[in-house]
């Protein structure tokens, strides 16, 4: 470990360190699960976004900002923009079909035994997911960076 790193932001416990490493993918998968089931069961973009941000924040606590940035590969602010863009993108397909702005559009088909329901609502929910994730990570990361 680099000695110059301030102690407050990285908790140098082996357990947290290792746990964060394994929990991050698990939590992310869980967040996607929550996101996709959200229309019928408890879950949805907002909750899933919170879970995903929780995953990254935990990792950030254990490994520091630089390492989190590395593993994320994208700026949190870009995620924010992506979320807003998806949210906006979900508004227009309805208009192309001659319906009112934001009217949900559904594309259902069967894939093997499963009924797949794709919709602008799902796109919108994914937008919410990224917007929440981007917001929290932007705030947390800039706070931690200002500490350093």
């Amino acid at each position: 470990m680099d000695d110059n790193k301030p102690k407050i932001m990285t908790f140098n416990t082996l357990i947290l360190h290792t746990a964060a490493l394994f929990l991050l993918p698990l939590q992310l998968i869980f967040s996607v699960f929550l996101l996709l089931r959200g229309h019928d069961e408890p879950g949805g973009g907002f909750i899933a976004g919170l879970v995903a941000s929780g995953a990254f924040v935990l990792y950030l606590f254990a490994h520091g900002v630089a390492s989190t940035r590395e593993i994320m590969r994208v700026e949190p602010r870009d995620l924010l923009a992506l979320g807003l863009l998806l949210g906006l993108a979900a508004m227009f397909p309805g208009m192309l079909n001659g319906e009112a702005f934001l009217t949900a559009q559904w594309w259902e088909f069967s894939l093997g035994d499963t009924q797949v329901k794709l919709s602008t609502v799902l796109i919108f929910d994914i937008g919410v997911y990224f917007a929440v994730l981007g917001t929290i990570l932007t705030i947390v990361m800039s706070l931690t960076e200002s500490e350093e």
């Binding site: 229309h39 924010l80 979320g83 609502v121 917001t135 705030i139 800039s142 706070l143």
Partner: protein
């Protein structure tokens, strides 16, 4: 037509991608769009000249009678043609003028958006969409004027233009809404046929005043004329476009468009003709007094706008014919002259007319084209400007009210214009060659092709006046006037009064030109004296006043103490909501404790204990933790009453809140008591008040049911309508998706706010 309007916006989106590829050819490539628009609109000319009016409509917000509906009649076609046709040359010219500028792409993006907004404005048949496009032109022109945003004066001019036009825009919106209310529709085409009910209504006077405030500010009528000359802080292609076919003509367009509805109203005709005449004279005088070539041209635009307004106000058949001719003539020569002035500035490095001379040998082509365009400005035969000016004199003579005053102003303005045309055409090119900041040489083809074609058109339309007349001008006059008109334009009308006036104007103009150099000091002195009391001084003192009040109330209300903000917000809520609650419902406290299980009491007790600990503890970490406990017990309540989504969200939010608090905890100074005893009591009582209010409100909400709750609808239709069984999620992403969209934008703004605050602080360090 929707696509014609939107194409500019769409192309604007892709321009930043085009710029690196096309480099110096961007202007030529982008000019294809206005060119194809010109051809598209030209294809309507045969139909429209037969008196046909073309309507196209797309639903936008049908529930509010707001649609993207377009109307193409003579007036809008003339404007659309001017906007797109002049646009072609502006783009070509700008590509060359801005060569090597670091943000050319940004320029073209705004320029395309500006052109598209202007097209939307003149084609709209719906008052609201017209207003939207109207404001878009204000915003895009603000960005264009302030294009060199590193230059402070450019920023100031841009802001001035924005304040004046958007301020007027507010009045205009009020006026348009009144118009729609009285006229019974937001469709212009329907309102214009119902002009009787508009005129008879009690709102007519207010409506006219509001609409005129909007159009006068936009079209730089006296006393709002000052923003326009300052707007030449923009790069020259912008000025050329702004002054000839767009922006300032928007106000003229709207007045012409509404003229059939209001032309019977005395207030409309009198204020248009008087303000127009005054603007015409003031503009001409200021043009004569200026020495900066762009400023001369800018003030001559003010003159032209005044003339157009005045002609609309006079409102006779002849006046409207003069109006259309003048409109066309002015657009052609003004675009040409501005581009030429920019070319001169670009090649010799100064805009000051007193420093120019003898450029004829260095810039022969520029000299010839300038001469032709300036002849049209002066209103000399055989240019189209001559026909327009003759028609103007004819209209002024035929006017009944204030005839003498307007005639004198018109004649004086004509003399001054004659003089400035001569100044612009002769001063830079003849006489001895002077030393200039740059070594003069001929302007490139891209900068001359536009002016040349426009100048030749001025000449051609003058020689063959029936070409524009039959193709478009007759239809325009019919669109502006109430009664159908038929007329034929000609260069030669025989010896008559207008011709005599032209000759007088010519002689006066020559005299004024001869003394141009000598009158400089005197006129400069006079102008400085006058400007101290002019409208621009008023604008500045108003702006200072606004800044003063803003900083005063900020010191008072926004003093940076978080506690004060909270107290103000909470007390306001308590007083307003509490008053309503007590007066509507009374103080009915009815507690029904039956059926509450033991563990429910336990949860509440836990909440209470957590709260009490949070406010009484002296350890900050303890406070954070007990707030966490409170949050989790709330989540328990949610889950208990079967709202799993809320419960999960609450848990997650609590977790993240604690994390965030932990993050900032390290930054806070040690926990010590800052508050005096008085402050503690004050804060406590405010908190208790809020708590009591919320309790009473909740009890009242359980007790009285004012309306049938909407949740029944959501439960029933969640699956059939939205194919989802999770009602909370369905509400969030489907039934109330617009709200959610707004909320994620709020989230984004908050995140960026935190980011920029921390980032800026880091940079300060």
């Amino acid at each position: 037509m929707l696509f014609a309007v939107l194409s500019g916006f769409i192309l604007a989106m892709f321009t930043p991608l085009l710029q690196p590829v096309a480099q110096n050819k961007t202007g030529w490539i982008l000019a294809i769009l206005p060119l194809s628009l010109t051809l598209y609109f030209a294809s309507f000319v045969p139909a429209v000249s037969q008196g046909e009016v073309i309507y196209q409509e797309w639903q936008w917000l049908p529930g509010m009678d707001i649609n993207l509906s377009f109307m193409l009649d003579g007036l809008s076609l003339l404007f659309a043609l001017l906007i797109s046709f002049i646009g072609v040359f502006i783009f070509i010219y700008a590509g060359s003028y801005l060569q090597g500028h670091k943000s050319t792409a940004r320029f073209f993006v705004i320029m395309l958006a500006f052109m598209a907004s202007m097209l939307g404005l003149v084609l709209s048949d719906n008052l609201i969409s017209l207003f939207v496009f109207w404001e878009l032109t204000s915003i895009t022109s603000y960005l264009l004027i302030g294009f060199d945003h590193e230059d402070e004066s450019a920023r100031r001019s841009a802001l001035q233009g924005l304040f004046v036009t958007v301020g007027g825009g507010l009045a205009l919106m009020a006026g348009l809404i009144m118009l729609a209310t009285v006229g019974g529709s937001y469709q212009l085409s329907e309102i214009l046929t119902a002009s009787d009910s508009v005129l008879e209504s009690s709102l007519a006077v207010g409506m006219i005043i509001c609409i005129l405030l909007g159009t006068f500010t936009k079209s730089a009528q006296f006393p709002f004329h000052f923003w326009l000359p300052n707007a030449m802080a923009a790069p020259t292609p912008v000025s050329a476009y702004l002054h000839s076919a767009t922006m300032v003509k928007a106000g003229i367009y709207l007045m012409a468009r509404l003229n059939p509805a209001f032309t019977e109203h005395a207030l409309w005709t009198v204020s248009l003709s008087l303000f127009g005449a005054i603007t015409m004279f003031v503009g001409a005088y200021l043009a004569y007094s200026a020495t900066d070539i762009k400023k001369v041209l800018a003030y001559s635009t003010v003159m032209a706008l005044g003339t157009l307004t005045m002609l609309l106000g006079i409102g006779t058949e002849y006046a409207l014919i003069a109006f259309t001719c003048f409109l066309l003539a002015h657009s052609l020569y003004k675009a040409a002259l501005f581009m030429l002035a920019g070319a001169i500035d670009h090649e010799i490095g100064t805009k000051d007319l007193t420093l120019m001379g003898g450029l004829r040998s260095k810039m022969p082509r520029t000299a010839v084209i300038t001469a032709i365009a300036a002849l049209s400005l002066a209103g000399m035969p055989p240019l189209f400007g001559f026909i327009a000016k003759e028609a103007m004199f004819e209209a002024v003579i035929g006017n009944d009210s204030y005839q003498a005053l307007i005639l004198i102003l018109a004649l004086a303005a004509a003399m001054l214009v004659m003089a400035i045309a001569a100044v612009v055409a002769i001063k830079p090119f003849y006489g001895e060659l002077r030393s200039t900041p740059k070594k003069p040489h001929e302007a490139p083809l891209a900068m001359l092709i536009g002016p040349a074609i426009l100048a030749v058109l001025s000449l051609m339309f003058g020689l063959l006046p029936w070409v524009p007349q039959n193709s478009i001008l007759s239809a325009t006059v019919n669109a502006v006037s109430v009664t159908p008109a038929s007329f034929s334009l000609a260069l030669w009308h025989g010896f008559n009064l207008p011709l005599l006036l032209s000759v007088i104007a010519l002689i006066g103009g020559i005299l004024l030109f001869v003394f141009w150099q000598k009158t400089r000091p005197a006129i400069g002195h006079l102008t400085t004296q006058a400007s101290r009391f002019g409208p621009e001084a008023g604008y500045f003192s108003m702006m200072n006043g606004i800044t003063y009040i803003a900083s005063w109330q900020t010191r008072l209300l926004q003093n940076g103490k978080l506690g004060n903000y909270m107290i103000v917000m909470i007390l306001t809520t308590v007083i307003l909501v509490g008053y309503t609650l007590l007066s509507q419902y009374g103080l009915n406290v009815y507690l029904n404790v039956e059926g509450i299980a033991f563990y429910e009491f336990f949860i509440v007790l836990l909440m209470l204990l957590a709260t009490i600990y949070a406010i009484s503890t002296r350890s900050r970490l303890g406070a954070v933790a007990s707030m966490g406990v409170l949050g989790f017990t709330v989540a328990l309540v949610f889950i208990h009453f079967s709202a799993p989504d809320l419960g999960i969200t609450q848990v997650l939010v609590e977790t993240l809140t604690v994390i965030l608090l932990v993050l900032v905890l390290f930054k806070l100074p040690g926990f010590s008591r800052y508050s005096s005893r008085y402050e503690v009591i004050r804060d406590a009582s405010v908190a208790v008040l809020m708590g009591v209010l919320m309790t009473l409100l909740t009890l009242a909400a359980i007790d009285v049911q004012f309306f049938e709750t909407i949740s029944g609808f959501f439960v029933e239709s969640s699956y059939p309508l939205a194919k989802g069984r999770n009602i909370v999620n369905v509400i969030l992403v489907d039934f109330r998706a617009l709200d959610t969209l707004g909320e994620i934008f709020v989230l984004a703004i908050a995140a960026l706010g935190v980011f920029s605050m921390l980032k800026l602080r880091a940079e300060e360090k």
